[in-house]
Protein backbone atom coordinates (compact mmCIF):
# COMPACT_ATOMS: atom_id res chain seq x y z
CA UNK A 1 0.00 0.00 0.00
CA UNK A 2 2.85 2.32 0.88
CA UNK A 3 4.39 1.82 -2.56
CA UNK A 4 1.06 2.55 -4.24
CA UNK A 5 0.57 5.71 -2.18
CA UNK A 6 4.07 6.79 -3.02
CA UNK A 7 3.41 6.24 -6.72
CA UNK A 8 0.20 8.29 -6.51
CA UNK A 9 2.04 11.09 -4.69
CA UNK A 10 4.79 11.02 -7.31
CA UNK A 11 2.26 11.15 -10.13
CA UNK A 12 0.45 14.07 -8.47
CA UNK A 13 3.69 15.93 -8.11
CA UNK A 14 4.70 15.27 -11.70
CA UNK A 15 1.31 16.43 -12.91
CA UNK A 16 1.49 19.56 -10.75
CA UNK A 17 4.96 20.30 -12.07
CA UNK A 18 3.84 19.95 -15.66
CA UNK A 19 0.87 22.18 -14.89
CA UNK A 20 2.98 24.90 -13.25
CA UNK A 21 5.54 24.75 -16.06
CA UNK A 22 2.83 24.98 -18.71
CA UNK A 23 3.64 21.56 -20.17
CA UNK A 24 0.09 20.23 -20.23
CA UNK A 25 -2.08 20.35 -23.31
CA UNK A 26 -5.11 22.60 -23.17
CA UNK A 27 -7.45 19.69 -22.45
CA UNK A 28 -5.12 18.27 -19.79
CA UNK A 29 -4.78 21.66 -18.16
CA UNK A 30 -8.52 22.21 -17.94
CA UNK A 31 -9.07 18.70 -16.62
CA UNK A 32 -6.33 19.14 -14.00
CA UNK A 33 -7.74 22.49 -12.89
CA UNK A 34 -11.24 20.99 -12.62
CA UNK A 35 -9.80 18.39 -10.27
CA UNK A 36 -7.58 20.72 -8.22
CA UNK A 37 -10.47 23.12 -7.62
CA UNK A 38 -12.06 20.49 -5.38
CA UNK A 39 -8.97 18.72 -4.03
CA UNK A 40 -7.20 20.35 -1.11
CA UNK A 41 -4.36 17.79 -1.18
CA UNK A 42 -3.48 18.50 -4.80
CA UNK A 43 -3.84 22.23 -4.12
CA UNK A 44 -1.06 21.96 -1.53
CA UNK A 45 1.21 20.19 -4.02
CA UNK A 46 0.48 22.78 -6.72
CA UNK A 47 1.32 25.61 -4.34
CA UNK A 48 4.55 23.86 -3.33
CA UNK A 49 5.61 23.49 -6.95
CA UNK A 50 4.55 27.06 -7.70
CA UNK A 51 6.96 28.07 -4.92
CA UNK A 52 9.70 26.62 -7.13
CA UNK A 53 8.80 29.14 -9.79
CA UNK A 54 9.21 31.90 -7.22
CA UNK A 55 12.60 30.51 -6.17
CA UNK A 56 13.70 30.35 -9.78
CA UNK A 57 12.56 33.90 -10.47
CA UNK A 58 14.41 35.17 -7.41
CA UNK A 59 17.55 33.34 -8.47
CA UNK A 60 17.28 34.84 -11.94
CA UNK A 61 16.78 38.31 -10.51
CA UNK A 62 19.79 37.88 -8.20
CA UNK A 63 21.94 36.63 -11.05
CA UNK A 64 20.87 39.54 -13.22
CA UNK A 65 21.72 42.15 -10.62
CA UNK A 66 24.72 40.58 -8.89
CA UNK A 67 27.41 40.42 -11.49
CA UNK A 68 28.31 43.77 -12.80
CA UNK A 69 27.26 43.54 -16.28
CA UNK A 70 28.96 45.70 -18.75
CA UNK A 71 26.73 44.16 -21.39
CA UNK A 72 23.74 45.22 -19.34
CA UNK A 73 24.94 48.77 -19.12
CA UNK A 74 25.58 48.85 -22.83
CA UNK A 75 22.18 47.30 -23.37
CA UNK A 76 20.50 49.93 -21.24
CA UNK A 77 22.26 52.73 -23.03
CA UNK A 78 22.12 51.49 -26.59
CA UNK A 79 19.41 48.87 -26.67
CA UNK A 80 20.19 45.76 -28.74
CA UNK A 81 23.76 46.17 -29.87
CA UNK A 82 26.02 44.57 -32.45
CA UNK A 83 29.02 42.54 -31.38
CA UNK A 84 31.34 45.42 -32.27
CA UNK A 85 29.91 47.51 -29.45
CA UNK A 86 30.57 44.73 -26.97
CA UNK A 87 34.14 44.46 -28.24
CA UNK A 88 34.63 48.20 -27.98
CA UNK A 89 33.17 48.10 -24.47
CA UNK A 90 35.53 45.31 -23.46
CA UNK A 91 38.50 47.24 -24.85
CA UNK A 92 37.45 50.35 -22.95
CA UNK A 93 37.04 48.39 -19.75
CA UNK A 94 40.45 46.77 -20.20
CA UNK A 95 41.92 50.25 -20.68
CA UNK A 96 40.31 51.48 -17.47
CA UNK A 97 41.55 48.46 -15.53
CA UNK A 98 45.08 48.66 -16.89
CA UNK A 99 45.74 52.37 -16.78
CA UNK A 100 43.49 53.76 -14.14
CA UNK A 101 44.04 51.45 -11.21
CA UNK A 102 44.70 54.16 -8.67
CA UNK A 103 41.27 55.62 -9.13
CA UNK A 104 39.51 52.29 -8.81
CA UNK A 105 37.36 51.92 -5.72
CA UNK A 106 38.13 49.78 -2.72
CA UNK A 107 38.08 46.06 -3.49
CA UNK A 108 34.56 45.64 -4.64
CA UNK A 109 33.47 42.27 -3.37
CA UNK A 110 30.00 43.48 -4.01
CA UNK A 111 29.96 45.12 -7.39
CA UNK A 112 32.22 46.88 -9.76
CA UNK A 113 31.73 50.55 -10.18
CA UNK A 114 30.65 51.81 -13.52
CA UNK A 115 29.14 55.09 -12.54
CA UNK A 116 31.59 57.92 -13.06
CA UNK A 117 30.52 59.84 -9.97
CA UNK A 118 29.01 58.74 -6.70
CA UNK A 119 26.96 60.41 -4.02
CA UNK A 120 29.13 62.58 -1.80
CA UNK A 121 28.70 61.51 1.83
CA UNK A 122 29.88 63.77 4.60
CA UNK A 123 30.38 62.05 7.91
CA UNK A 124 29.58 62.85 11.49
CA UNK A 125 32.66 64.35 13.13
CA UNK A 126 34.19 61.24 14.64
CA UNK A 127 37.81 61.85 13.84
CA UNK A 128 39.84 60.20 16.52
CA UNK A 129 37.15 60.37 19.11
CA UNK A 130 35.81 63.91 18.86
CA UNK A 131 32.17 62.99 18.50
CA UNK A 132 30.15 65.72 16.84
CA UNK A 133 26.50 66.11 16.18
CA UNK A 134 24.97 63.20 14.30
CA UNK A 135 23.84 64.21 10.85
CA UNK A 136 20.49 63.06 9.54
CA UNK A 137 20.39 59.99 7.33
CA UNK A 138 21.46 60.76 3.79
CA UNK A 139 19.14 59.42 1.11
CA UNK A 140 20.97 57.61 -1.67
CA UNK A 141 18.80 57.67 -4.77
CA UNK A 142 18.71 54.95 -7.38
CA UNK A 143 21.30 55.34 -10.12
CA UNK A 144 20.71 55.03 -13.86
CA UNK A 145 19.94 51.34 -13.32
CA UNK A 146 17.35 50.85 -10.62
CA UNK A 147 19.08 47.79 -9.18
CA UNK A 148 22.57 48.83 -10.19
CA UNK A 149 25.39 49.70 -7.80
CA UNK A 150 25.17 52.76 -5.59
CA UNK A 151 28.48 54.53 -5.41
CA UNK A 152 29.20 56.54 -2.28
CA UNK A 153 32.08 58.99 -2.08
CA UNK A 154 32.85 58.93 1.64
CA UNK A 155 34.45 62.19 2.71
CA UNK A 156 36.31 60.49 5.55
CA UNK A 157 38.67 63.36 6.43
CA UNK A 158 40.93 60.74 7.93
CA UNK A 159 44.29 62.17 8.84
CA UNK A 160 46.76 61.81 5.97
CA UNK A 161 49.35 60.49 8.48
CA UNK A 162 47.02 57.60 9.29
CA UNK A 163 46.32 56.95 5.62
CA UNK A 164 50.00 56.92 4.73
CA UNK A 165 51.00 54.80 7.71
CA UNK A 166 51.94 51.37 6.24
CA UNK A 167 50.97 49.64 9.48
CA UNK A 168 47.47 51.10 9.37
CA UNK A 169 44.51 49.59 7.61
CA UNK A 170 40.87 50.56 7.58
CA UNK A 171 37.68 48.59 7.73
CA UNK A 172 34.63 49.91 5.94
CA UNK A 173 31.40 48.58 7.36
CA UNK A 174 27.75 48.92 6.53
CA UNK A 175 25.56 47.97 9.47
CA UNK A 176 21.85 47.68 10.06
CA UNK A 177 20.90 48.25 13.69
CA UNK A 178 24.31 47.08 14.86
CA UNK A 179 24.42 44.06 12.59
CA UNK A 180 27.30 44.30 10.12
CA UNK A 181 26.07 43.57 6.60
CA UNK A 182 29.16 44.56 4.65
CA UNK A 183 32.77 44.60 5.76
CA UNK A 184 35.57 45.64 3.41
CA UNK A 185 39.23 46.23 4.00
CA UNK A 186 40.78 49.46 2.71
CA UNK A 187 44.36 50.67 2.51
CA UNK A 188 46.00 53.90 1.48
CA UNK A 189 45.75 53.15 -2.25
CA UNK A 190 41.99 53.18 -1.91
CA UNK A 191 41.83 56.73 -0.62
CA UNK A 192 41.50 59.68 -2.90
CA UNK A 193 43.69 62.82 -2.52
CA UNK A 194 41.42 64.37 0.09
CA UNK A 195 40.79 61.20 2.07
CA UNK A 196 37.82 60.18 -0.05
CA UNK A 197 36.82 56.53 -0.21
CA UNK A 198 34.69 55.25 -3.04
CA UNK A 199 32.32 52.59 -1.85
CA UNK A 200 30.19 50.62 -4.28
CA UNK A 201 27.16 48.95 -2.78
CA UNK A 202 24.89 46.40 -4.35
CA UNK A 203 21.40 47.57 -3.31
CA UNK A 204 19.92 44.15 -3.94
CA UNK A 205 22.06 42.77 -1.13
CA UNK A 206 21.03 45.48 1.33
CA UNK A 207 17.70 46.51 2.83
CA UNK A 208 16.22 49.55 1.16
CA UNK A 209 14.35 52.25 3.00
CA UNK A 210 16.16 51.50 6.28
CA UNK A 211 18.73 53.63 7.98
CA UNK A 212 22.11 51.95 7.55
CA UNK A 213 25.28 53.06 9.26
CA UNK A 214 28.40 53.41 7.14
CA UNK A 215 31.53 53.28 9.26
CA UNK A 216 35.24 53.51 8.60
CA UNK A 217 37.20 51.96 11.44
CA UNK A 218 40.87 52.17 12.11
CA UNK A 219 42.62 48.81 12.03
CA UNK A 220 45.94 49.55 13.68
CA UNK A 221 46.83 47.30 16.59
CA UNK A 222 48.55 49.23 19.34
CA UNK A 223 46.88 52.51 18.43
CA UNK A 224 44.52 53.80 21.13
CA UNK A 225 41.85 54.17 18.45
CA UNK A 226 42.30 50.67 17.06
CA UNK A 227 38.85 49.33 16.12
CA UNK A 228 37.20 52.70 16.67
CA UNK A 229 35.22 54.58 14.05
CA UNK A 230 36.94 57.47 12.31
CA UNK A 231 33.98 58.13 10.06
CA UNK A 232 30.30 57.45 10.47
CA UNK A 233 27.13 58.38 8.64
CA UNK A 234 23.59 57.14 8.40
CA UNK A 235 22.44 56.48 4.86
CA UNK A 236 19.16 55.32 3.42
CA UNK A 237 19.11 53.45 0.13
CA UNK A 238 16.16 54.28 -2.11
Amino acid sequence: LSTELHAVAEETRRRARDYVLGRLSEAERLSFEDHVAGCAECAVVVLEVEGGMERLESAMARAASAGWTWSRVVEVVFGPVPAAVYLASAALLAFVLLFNRASLPIPAQLVAVLEPAGVRVEGDALLRGSVGEALPALEIPAGPMASGPRVLELETRVDRADIEDPSAAFVVEVADAGQVLVSLSARREHFGPRGTLRLALDPTALPRGRELTVLVRLDKPGDPFHGKALFSRLVLLR
Partner: protein, 198 residues
Protein backbone atom coordinates in the same frame (compact mmCIF):
# COMPACT_ATOMS: atom_id res chain seq x y z
CA UNK B 1 -20.77 -0.26 -7.19
CA UNK B 2 -20.87 3.47 -7.73
CA UNK B 3 -17.84 5.33 -9.05
CA UNK B 4 -16.05 7.91 -6.98
CA UNK B 5 -17.11 10.55 -9.52
CA UNK B 6 -20.77 9.86 -8.92
CA UNK B 7 -20.20 9.94 -5.16
CA UNK B 8 -18.54 13.34 -5.52
CA UNK B 9 -21.44 14.56 -7.63
CA UNK B 10 -23.94 13.33 -5.03
CA UNK B 11 -22.05 15.22 -2.35
CA UNK B 12 -22.01 18.35 -4.50
CA UNK B 13 -25.76 18.12 -5.13
CA UNK B 14 -26.38 17.75 -1.42
CA UNK B 15 -24.24 20.79 -0.67
CA UNK B 16 -26.03 22.79 -3.37
CA UNK B 17 -29.40 21.81 -1.89
CA UNK B 18 -28.28 22.97 1.54
CA UNK B 19 -27.04 26.32 0.15
CA UNK B 20 -30.31 26.74 -1.78
CA UNK B 21 -32.34 26.18 1.37
CA UNK B 22 -30.04 28.53 3.30
CA UNK B 23 -28.99 25.87 5.80
CA UNK B 24 -26.57 27.24 8.40
CA UNK B 25 -22.96 26.34 7.71
CA UNK B 26 -23.58 25.31 4.10
CA UNK B 27 -21.90 28.36 2.60
CA UNK B 28 -18.95 28.03 4.96
CA UNK B 29 -18.52 24.44 3.87
CA UNK B 30 -18.51 25.43 0.22
CA UNK B 31 -15.77 27.97 0.89
CA UNK B 32 -13.78 25.50 2.99
CA UNK B 33 -13.97 22.82 0.29
CA UNK B 34 -13.15 24.87 -2.78
CA UNK B 35 -11.11 27.84 -1.63
CA UNK B 36 -7.71 26.02 -1.38
CA UNK B 37 -7.89 24.52 -4.87
CA UNK B 38 -9.16 27.67 -6.53
CA UNK B 39 -6.46 29.67 -4.78
CA UNK B 40 -3.74 27.29 -6.04
CA UNK B 41 -5.01 27.61 -9.62
CA UNK B 42 -5.21 31.38 -9.38
CA UNK B 43 -1.67 31.56 -7.95
CA UNK B 44 -0.32 29.67 -10.93
CA UNK B 45 -2.33 31.61 -13.48
CA UNK B 46 -2.02 35.17 -12.20
CA UNK B 47 0.31 35.14 -9.19
CA UNK B 48 -0.29 35.25 -5.48
CA UNK B 49 -0.97 38.99 -5.35
CA UNK B 50 -4.01 38.83 -7.54
CA UNK B 51 -5.17 35.35 -6.55
CA UNK B 52 -6.95 36.21 -3.30
CA UNK B 53 -9.38 38.72 -4.79
CA UNK B 54 -10.14 36.55 -7.80
CA UNK B 55 -10.93 33.53 -5.64
CA UNK B 56 -13.14 35.60 -3.37
CA UNK B 57 -15.07 36.88 -6.40
CA UNK B 58 -15.34 33.36 -7.80
CA UNK B 59 -16.74 31.94 -4.57
CA UNK B 60 -19.17 34.84 -4.22
CA UNK B 61 -20.38 34.29 -7.79
CA UNK B 62 -20.63 30.54 -7.17
CA UNK B 63 -22.74 31.10 -4.07
CA UNK B 64 -25.08 33.42 -5.96
CA UNK B 65 -25.45 30.79 -8.69
CA UNK B 66 -26.23 28.08 -6.16
CA UNK B 67 -28.74 30.26 -4.29
CA UNK B 68 -30.53 30.93 -7.56
CA UNK B 69 -30.39 27.31 -8.64
CA UNK B 70 -28.26 28.07 -11.70
CA UNK B 71 -25.94 25.11 -11.16
CA UNK B 72 -27.81 22.12 -12.53
CA UNK B 73 -25.71 19.39 -11.00
CA UNK B 74 -24.67 17.91 -14.34
CA UNK B 75 -20.96 17.95 -13.54
CA UNK B 76 -18.83 18.35 -10.42
CA UNK B 77 -19.12 21.63 -8.58
CA UNK B 78 -15.31 21.92 -8.59
CA UNK B 79 -15.24 21.97 -12.38
CA UNK B 80 -18.06 24.52 -12.43
CA UNK B 81 -16.19 26.83 -10.03
CA UNK B 82 -12.93 26.33 -11.92
CA UNK B 83 -14.70 27.52 -15.08
CA UNK B 84 -16.07 30.56 -13.23
CA UNK B 85 -12.54 31.32 -12.01
CA UNK B 86 -11.05 30.98 -15.51
CA UNK B 87 -13.63 33.39 -16.90
CA UNK B 88 -12.87 35.86 -14.14
CA UNK B 89 -9.14 35.57 -14.77
CA UNK B 90 -9.74 36.26 -18.47
CA UNK B 91 -11.99 39.25 -17.83
CA UNK B 92 -9.70 40.60 -15.15
CA UNK B 93 -6.67 40.39 -17.43
CA UNK B 94 -8.53 42.10 -20.26
CA UNK B 95 -9.72 44.88 -17.94
CA UNK B 96 -6.26 45.48 -16.53
CA UNK B 97 -4.70 45.54 -19.99
CA UNK B 98 -7.21 48.09 -21.24
CA UNK B 99 -6.82 50.32 -18.18
CA UNK B 100 -4.53 53.25 -18.98
CA UNK B 101 -1.35 53.75 -16.98
CA UNK B 102 -1.90 55.93 -13.95
CA UNK B 103 -5.46 54.87 -13.36
CA UNK B 104 -4.57 52.35 -10.69
CA UNK B 105 -5.28 54.62 -7.73
CA UNK B 106 -8.53 52.87 -6.94
CA UNK B 107 -6.67 49.58 -6.94
CA UNK B 108 -3.99 51.01 -4.73
CA UNK B 109 -6.55 51.98 -2.16
CA UNK B 110 -8.29 48.62 -2.12
CA UNK B 111 -5.41 46.18 -2.34
CA UNK B 112 -2.33 48.17 -1.45
CA UNK B 113 -0.71 47.14 -4.69
CA UNK B 114 -0.17 48.75 -8.03
CA UNK B 115 -2.37 47.10 -10.64
CA UNK B 116 0.11 47.50 -13.45
CA UNK B 117 2.98 46.18 -11.36
CA UNK B 118 0.90 43.11 -10.56
CA UNK B 119 0.03 42.55 -14.18
CA UNK B 120 3.66 42.95 -15.16
CA UNK B 121 4.63 40.41 -12.55
CA UNK B 122 2.07 37.94 -13.84
CA UNK B 123 3.34 38.48 -17.37
CA UNK B 124 6.94 38.03 -16.25
CA UNK B 125 5.97 34.77 -14.57
CA UNK B 126 4.34 33.59 -17.78
CA UNK B 127 7.48 34.43 -19.74
CA UNK B 128 9.66 32.48 -17.31
CA UNK B 129 7.29 29.54 -17.62
CA UNK B 130 7.48 29.64 -21.41
CA UNK B 131 11.28 30.05 -21.28
CA UNK B 132 11.74 26.98 -19.05
CA UNK B 133 9.75 24.97 -21.59
CA UNK B 134 12.28 25.94 -24.27
CA UNK B 135 15.36 24.78 -22.35
CA UNK B 136 17.28 21.71 -23.53
CA UNK B 137 16.24 18.62 -21.56
CA UNK B 138 19.46 18.19 -19.54
CA UNK B 139 19.39 21.81 -18.41
CA UNK B 140 15.68 21.77 -17.69
CA UNK B 141 16.13 18.63 -15.60
CA UNK B 142 18.65 20.10 -13.14
CA UNK B 143 16.68 23.32 -12.97
CA UNK B 144 13.44 21.53 -12.16
CA UNK B 145 15.12 19.25 -9.62
CA UNK B 146 16.87 22.13 -7.91
CA UNK B 147 14.15 24.77 -7.83
CA UNK B 148 10.91 22.83 -8.12
CA UNK B 149 11.85 19.72 -6.18
CA UNK B 150 14.05 21.58 -3.70
CA UNK B 151 16.83 19.05 -4.33
CA UNK B 152 20.32 20.01 -3.24
CA UNK B 153 23.22 20.04 -5.68
CA UNK B 154 24.70 16.99 -3.93
CA UNK B 155 21.44 15.07 -4.18
CA UNK B 156 21.08 15.90 -7.86
CA UNK B 157 24.64 14.71 -8.44
CA UNK B 158 23.77 11.41 -6.74
CA UNK B 159 20.48 11.03 -8.57
CA UNK B 160 21.93 11.67 -12.02
CA UNK B 161 25.29 10.02 -11.27
CA UNK B 162 27.27 13.04 -12.38
CA UNK B 163 29.91 15.07 -10.52
CA UNK B 164 28.80 17.96 -8.31
CA UNK B 165 30.69 20.38 -10.53
CA UNK B 166 28.73 19.22 -13.55
CA UNK B 167 25.47 19.91 -11.70
CA UNK B 168 26.66 23.40 -10.83
CA UNK B 169 27.78 23.99 -14.38
CA UNK B 170 24.46 22.80 -15.81
CA UNK B 171 22.57 24.97 -13.35
CA UNK B 172 24.68 27.93 -14.38
CA UNK B 173 24.14 27.27 -18.07
CA UNK B 174 20.43 26.66 -17.53
CA UNK B 175 20.04 30.04 -15.85
CA UNK B 176 22.13 31.72 -18.54
CA UNK B 177 20.06 30.14 -21.32
CA UNK B 178 16.90 31.09 -19.50
CA UNK B 179 18.11 34.68 -19.23
CA UNK B 180 18.93 34.64 -22.94
CA UNK B 181 15.49 33.37 -23.86
CA UNK B 182 13.85 35.92 -21.58
CA UNK B 183 15.85 38.74 -23.14
CA UNK B 184 14.82 37.64 -26.63
CA UNK B 185 11.16 37.34 -25.70
CA UNK B 186 11.14 40.56 -23.70
CA UNK B 187 9.58 42.49 -26.56
CA UNK B 188 6.32 40.59 -26.32
CA UNK B 189 5.85 41.12 -22.60
CA UNK B 190 2.64 43.08 -22.80
CA UNK B 191 0.37 40.10 -23.12
CA UNK B 192 -1.06 37.72 -20.61
CA UNK B 193 -0.54 34.40 -22.30
CA UNK B 194 -3.14 31.83 -21.59
CA UNK B 195 -4.95 33.84 -18.93
CA UNK B 196 -8.03 34.39 -21.00
CA UNK B 197 -8.40 30.81 -22.13
CA UNK B 198 -10.83 28.25 -20.93
Amino acid sequence: VRSSDSLVLDGDRELARRVLSAEPGAEDELIRRFQPGLFAIACVRVGRDLAGDLVQDTLAAGLVDLRRGRWRGEGPLAAYLATVLRRKIGRDAAARRSRPLGSGEEELASTGADAHALVERAERRERVRAAVAQLPARHALVLVLHYFENTSVEEIAGKLAIPRGTVLSRLHHARAKLAGILNRTGAGRHSLRGAGEG
